[in-house]
């Protein structure tokens, strides 16, 4: 396999495209220039750092360091899940739900792929485990945050309908069902749309990366299909767990709607 190597100086010219976006934001008074600068700086620092971290991990192949890295990834994902919600469950529940469901879903499908399709030696080899986890995690996180956002907003908006159902002797699960369905649909849709458009509208990053690195397109496609199946499974599992868990936390054992457990992010 041969590929064209890039130096950091090669990235200066493409960076001008981001600068162009910043200029546009200033010219059109979009007030996005600060967010753009912070996001670009974060992207640069995070990716350069992760390059060094992965180099270290691939050299050591330690189960301990691989697990620690995976845990940090999950914690950051759960923080993102919380940050993306307008109305959040109050207290530690929201972090617990985000982290628990992300870990459950992304961890399960990643370990499943490592033990069944890929079978690297050792099974926890970070070259396979961490990129796989990263890709599944990113999509699972999106599904969970969308699902929870629609759930908390939907329950708040449909309060009268939910309480009417409860007042007539309905159970909390049945009362929340219309909102739960909406939340699950929202969580699943990006993955479904992504699968439908892939190859026609978009060439996914991982497949493009493999092709640029010299892998035959037909082999890169097989990897991509595997990843899409894992993403679909992880997103489905994570969104389902988060929405059902969220629904449970928004009600109590006496089948009462507990909107007092939702806070409002005034910053949004």
């Amino acid at each position: 396999m041969t590929y064209i190597q890039l130096s950091y100086s090669d990235l200066a010219l493409p960076a001008l495209l981001v600068v162009m976006n910043g200029v546009l934001s200033i010219a059109l008074h979009l007030k996005l220039e600060r967010h753009l600068a912070v996001a670009t700086a974060r992207m640069l620092v995070q990716l350069v750092l992760v390059g060094y971290v992965l180099t270290f991990l691939f050299a050591t192949v330690s189960p301990f360091w691989t697990a620690i890295t995976a845990l940090i990834m999950v914690l950051f994902a759960s923080r993102e899940v919380v940050a993306r919600q307008k109305r959040r469950l109050e207290g530690l529940w929201t972090y617990g739900l985000g982290a628990g469901c992300t870990l459950l879903a992304a961890g399960t499908v990643t370990v499943f792929a490592l033990f069944t399709q890929l079978r690297p030696e050792p099974w926890y080899h970070p070259r396979y485990a961490l990129p796989l986890l990263g890709m599944v995690l990113g999509n699972t996180m999106t599904g969970i945050s969308l699902g929870l956002d629609v759930l908390t907003n939907g329950v708040t908006r449909e309060r009268a309908a939910v309480e009417a159902y409860l007042a007539l002797g309905g159970t909390r699960y049945r009362a929340l069902l219309p909102v739960i369905r909406d939340a699950l649909r929202s969580g699943f849709m990006p993955t479904i749309n992504g699968m439908a458009a892939i190859g026609l509208v978009s060439l996914p990053g991982m497949m493009t990366g493999q092709i640029l690195a010299g892998v035959a397109p037909t082999d890169a496609v097989k990897y991509q299909i595997l990843i899409m199946f894992l993403i679909a499974g992880g997103t489905g599992l994570g969104t389902l767990a988060a929405v059902m868990g969220g629904g449970r936390l928004l009600t109590d054992h006496r089948h009462r709607l507990r909107l007092d457990r939702i806070g409002i992010d005034a910053a949004r």
Binding site: V162, E163, A164, A167, L168, G170, T171, R256
Partner: protein, 198 residues
């Protein structure tokens, strides 16, 4: 008999009894906590105190079962489906009551979004009446109705009371309180309940 002892929810606190086949009118200024009280009895909000139906403690009964026995009817009922009929388990049995309240039997196919406040209020009441609850907690059930519909609602509820249903009827209309109630509770500021003679 519904027994309420030291029921506390936010600033309200209440103790009273309502016998079978008795309708108690509940009055008080807006925002004093009448709805909070009715919702607390139905166990729709966290609350403290003791509520019993015929000596059976509320907490010993599953909450959905309790609410089928002690049913809260909101002034502005909520709707979870798109069509009227979706909110009734047995539409055919509801039709006679619906017609008595001045709505046609064909209203089952009506779109919920096109209902007026008064139509929603009447249909919300019929939906609750279909449960044949032991206790009805009516939260301003005629606030959006004209005189004819109000009279029809009062008549239907009176029939239920005559066969043993207990009712707590929250209203701002003093004349209505005298018409429907055999006793009158006034909720004063501070959330205390005082019984007044009718």
């Amino acid at each position: 008999m519904l027994t309420v002892r030291a029921l506390t929810r936010l600033h309200i606190s209440a103790s009273f009894e309502v016998k079978d086949g008795e309708c108690v009118a509940l009055q008080g200024p807006s925002g004093v906590g009448k709805s909070l009280l009715l919702r607390a009895i139905a166990d729709l909000d966290p609350n403290e105190g003791t509520v019993e139906l015929d000596g059976t403690l509320r907490e010993t009964v599953p909450a959905p079962h309790w609410r089928k026995q002690v049913t809260y009817v909101a002034a502005e009922p909520g709707w979870w489906g798109d069509r009227v009929q979706e909110h009734f388990t047995t539409w055919e049995q509801a039709v006679p009551l619906i017609e008595r309240l001045g709505l046609p039997s064909s209203c089952g196919t009506w779109d919920i979004r096109r209902l007026s406040s008064g139509e929603k209020q009447r249909l919300g009441l019929v939906r609750a009446l279909m449960l044949h609850s032991r206790v009805l907690l009516l939260d301003e059930p005629t606030s959006a109705l004209d005189a004819v519909s109000t009279s029809a609602v009062e008549s239907i509820v009176a029939e239920r009371v005559s066969v043993g249903t207990s009712v707590i009827w929250s209203t701002h209309d003093k004349a209505q309180a005298h018409r429907v109630g055999s006793r009158l509770f006034i909720m004063a500021s501070g959330g205390r309940i005082e019984e007044h003679s009718l």
